[in-house]
């Protein structure tokens, strides 16, 4: 049972994790799968003696970007327009979706292919387009799998990491006609490939995300392992690229830091298979860039949380997070899960995401793997303070905390309460020995000693 603010009918992170944990072997499998990715990241990082310098430099470049974002955005727009690209500005998710739809309508398009873009997940573009009569096919294999399952991605880099290959086989059997019981990844991938090939050949509009946008040149870079962004965009008459405004980097040479960090942090690869640069439309093609704010300037104005905008969406913080690995991406009920999602989401809606900054032990591993050195766990702590002050915490918890603070500020009462048959123990969340106490569900309580340290001390040292 979660203890933080909860609206009726919605389950918070603790509730959803509780459900996830009912199948312990599956939790073990999920944990080990992601831990394996973390170990691959470690091997890749440890193979570069300059790793920490790369992180420091990339963080510094992003710092500069965030301090001069307005200039870099204008420079980028100017260059992109000069390159023949149509540039759009969207204040929020709604505007972003409307812009995309208007481009599709102009071309009388009802079918679109899309390569992976967490921004469009954040904006719920697929649902919006569907409601407006446009079918979207996700061309990233993992995204396609969760799309067929009618689920959101559970991870920003590995969208279907929560699915076992047998479950993917069942989905493909229903949707793509593979044999029942087929779970050989090679066979399944080939089936997806054939199915997507047809999609690539018939879609007139392709939408991609953006990993990096270079202010100096007006170009943008899309990183994929499957080449699906290229395949879609090269064959389409219209290429729409959607990006959050924080994706800007000043110069092309800065890619040498980010491209080395991104894939190593994400999957342990030295670099993604494809790092595709898009600069201008080919003759006869239309190219659009949609620059989206959707709360980013608000976050930029929150000094304590500004650095969260440095994120390059590698997912390393998720892979290392001991809570994420044991609760699954969907428990975060947000497009971006894990530690980074937990510091980004409250910026968009404090009430809805008040539980997320508490879904952490503040162990700090996330901050250590972050390739751009975002102080993630410190921001989780700071969000907790903000959320309590803004009233997004249960009144029961607030009363308990006040009682605790009162007792601890009154030394004589503390000592007395401690002496009185250890009644002080009731202050501690783990000390009530009954079935209603969540501590007791899987843990014994500590055995109460004969005397407290202070009692012993007063007898033996004074």
């Amino acid at each position: 049972m979660g203890s933080n603010a909860k609206t009726a009918g919605t389950l918070d992170h603790a509730d959803l994790s509780d459900i996830f944990n009912r199948d312990e072997p599956r939790v073990n499998w999920h944990d080990e799968t992601l831990w394996f990715v973390r170990t691959k990241r470690d091997r890749a990082a440890h193979s570069l003696p300059e790793w920490e310098l790369l992180r420091e430099t990339a963080s510094g470049i992003k710092h500069n970007v965030l301090s001069n974002l307005h200039n870099y955005l204008q420079q980028f727009e100017e260059k992109a327009i000069a390159n023949g690209v149509q540039v759009h500005w969207a204040a929020d998710a709604k505007e972003h979706n409307e812009i995309v739809l208007s481009i599709l309508k102009k071309h009388k398009i009802t079918q679109m292919v899309k390569s992976k873009s967490m921004l469009t997940e954040e904006c719920h573009l697929n649902e919006y387009l569907q409601q407006n009569g446009v079918g979207v096919i996700d061309s990233d294999l993992g995204e396609r799998i969760v799309q067929l399952a009618e689920e959101p991605p559970s991870h920003i880099v590995l969208p279907c990491i929560h699915k076992k290959k047998e479950e993917i086989g069942d989905l493909f059997h229903v949707h793509l006609g593979t044999e029942a019981g087929e779970s050989n990844p090679q066979v399944l991938t080939e089936a997806a490939r054939q199915h997507l090939r047809d999609t690539f050949l018939t879609r007139k509009v392709s939408l991609t995300g953006v990993n990096f946008a270079v202010a100096e040149t007006g170009e943008f870079v899309v990183c994929t392992n499957e080449g699906n962004a290229d395949m879609g965009s090269h064959l389409a008459d219209v290429h729409i690229a959607c990006m959050g405004i924080e994706k800007i980097i000043p110069e092309r040479k800065h890619l040498s830091f980010f491209l080395r960090l991104l894939a190593r942090s994400a999957t342990g690869q030295p670099i993604t298979t494809y790092s595709s640069h898009f600069k201008k439309p080919r003759p006869g093609q239309e190219m659009h860039i949609v620059l989206v704010d959707n709360g980013r300037t608000t976050q930029l104005g929150r000094e304590d949380f500004r650095n969260s905008l440095k994120c390059i969406r590698c997912g390393a913080c998720m892979n290392t997070c001991p809570v994420y690995r044991r609760s699954g991406g969907h428990s975060y009920h947000n497009a971006i899960a894990g530690p980074i999602g937990s510091i980004l989401a409250p910026n968009l809606d404090m009430k809805k995401y008040a539980d997320l900054p508490f879904a952490s032990t503040l162990c700090g591993s996330c901050s250590n793997v972050c390739p751009v050195k975002i102080d993630i766990h410190d921001q989780l702590y700071k969000w907790r303070q903000v959320l309590v002050k803004e009233g997004h915490v249960s009144p029961v918890k607030a009363v308990g905390m006040k009682a605790m603070a009162f007792t601890f500020s009154m030394p004589r009462f503390f000592a007395f309460a401690g002496k009185a048959g250890r009644s002080l123990m009731r202050l501690f969340p783990f000390a009530v020995n009954n079935k209603l106490n969540p501590w007791f569900k899987e843990r014994e309580m500590p055995a109460p000693p004969q005397e407290s340290f202070r009692e012993w001390y007063s007898k033996n040292r004074k």
Binding site: L362, N368, M404, F414, F428, P448
Partner: protein, 246 residues
């Protein structure tokens, strides 16, 4: 050198032996050490829950209790880290600032201030070291597995002076145990699962004891070990450093 001993509230109430071992160990090393009787808590349980604004009186009480000492020594990494990062006083800001810099977790006080290079201790058992996160990543008591940097471990350095001890290798050497303060009840399912996994790493690698510099983590793991009716025990590192088993 006069040391004020801060015994965290839950150690005072549940694990007095760890407090006694800390005191005796410091005394053996020739330190003049006192336990100011009016101390209560560092304020961390409230602050980590988002209620740092309720800790003013606790902070003032702490500053008043400890301002006369050269150092504050705490046998708990997370309490020490909280004090170092968040202790404030409106009545006596200079004292709070001085105390923030002069507060040490026990292990780092032994290695960095006293520069201990040997101990008269004997503990002939297989021991797993739990690297508590706040001690590890906050106080940097050991090198963190995520970073590309030279390896070291202050707790293991001290344990290496103990005769007969055998440290076991863990599969995941610095994963969190899942205690996390109020996280342990607010997120019961994940917290308990993390604890079970951590405990099983130690058990599978042959540990008879799990030790560390933070009893809150050890208490959580002890709760799981006891529920599993395991023979494996937890001990605060001070209890091992202060023991001389024949």
């Amino acid at each position: 050198m006069k040391v004020g001993l801060f015994i965290p509230c839950y150690v005072d109430q549940f694990y007095p032996k760890a407090g006694i071992a800390t005191l005796e160990l410091l005394e053996k090393l020739g330190v003049q050490v006192e336990f100011p009787p009016k101390q209560t808590c560092c304020g961390q349980p409230m602050a980590n829950s988002g209620f740092s604004h309720l800790t003013h009186d606790i902070d003032e009480l702490f500053v008043k209790s400890f301002e006369k000492y050269d150092y504050v020594v705490v046998p708990s990494g997370s309490c020490a880290l909280h004090l170092k990062e968040h202790l404030h006083s409106t009545k006596n800001p200079a004292a709070a600032e001085r105390l923030r810099a002069r507060t040490y977790e026990l292990v780092e006080f032994l290695t960095d201030v006293l520069k201990v290079s040997s101990l008269r201790a004997r503990f002939p058992h297989k021991v797993g070291v739990h690297q508590s996160c706040h001690g590890l990543r906050g106080l940097k008591l050991s090198q963190m597995s995520e970073l590309v940097a030279p390896k070291f471990s202050k707790p293991e350095q001290l344990l290496s002076y103990v005769e007969g001890i055998e440290l076991v290798e863990l599969t995941r050497k610095d994963e969190c145990c899942g205690f996390g303060g109020t996280f342990c009840v607010a997120e019961e399912a994940v917290s308990a699962k993390m604890g079970k996994d951590r405990v099983s790493d130690h058990v599978q690698n042959g540990a008879e004891y799990i030790t560390g510099a933070d009893l809150s983590c050890l208490m959580h793991m002890e709760g799981i070990l006891n529920r599993q009716k395991s023979k494996v025990k937890v001990l605060h590192i001070a209890e091992i450093l202060n023991s001389f088993e024949g």
